[in-house]
Subunit: 133 residues, 2 copies
């Protein structure tokens, strides 16, 4: 699906910043940082615009944020449009790449008595196939 279509589906205005972000993010196998997206983008946008675009796209479940560490934030496109219950990401400790994992992973969450489960964010740390060699 093209970026414009995505925006239309969500009844969002078709602005070049939003369109660009979606294009960059959908064309990457890995989650990208703000700077990585900025570099791949044609236009030069103000940081505020950038953030507000991310926020809007996040709120519409078009993309999601992965907080590896509070100084290491990445963004990835939501392949499934529905709000997922499990967000599983793999972080390579060597090359620092982040990849959304889509392997089947039905975990059991044994919470203490009285606690209710809404969703789980899972960040698996290790080495990716390239760095493991």
């Amino acid at each position: 699906m093209k970026a414009v279509e995505v925006l239309n589906n969500h009844k969002l205005k078709r602005t070049s910043c939003r369109e660009g972000i979606i294009e960059v993010v959908t064309s990457s196998d890995y989650a990208l940082s703000e700077n990585e997206i900025k570099e791949k983008l044609q236009g030069n946008y103000d940081r505020t615009t950038f953030y507000r675009s991310f926020k809007t796209l996040e709120e519409h479940n078009i993309l999601h944020k992965i907080v590896v560490d509070n100084q290491n934030i990445k963004y990835a496109y939501n392949k499934s449009t529905s709000k997922e219950i499990e967000h599983i990401h793999f972080y390579c400790e060597k090359c620092q790449s982040v990849k959304c994992i889509e392997t089947e992973m039905t975990n059991k969450y044994n919470l203490p008595e009285g606690y209710s489960f809404v969703e789980a964010d899972i960040l698996i740390k290790g080495l990716c196939s390239k760095c493991k060699l």
Copy 2:
């Protein structure tokens, strides 16, 4: 174990800031934010000192940081001294409290071919027993 002992065991200098942080964190059932720790602390320390203390204590596996969101960071005491493989935390979406979960939870991590597992950070979001009522 007392704070001083903890510091001695790790051959760390016994400074009041470190000692205070350990005391506050060990006496809480929940993970605490920087400000929450600061409020409970007697002395008034410079932010830099505070951060460097956290960093040192983290590097020595005395406490660990839980990044709920990059603007919502909490610290908790490591009950097990060994570097755990699974870090499981529960975040209450209502009261925003964070609790370390110690329930048995041997998950299977089906990573893509060639990927190696080192550790997993799991943040379960939901409602705690108090807020669920």
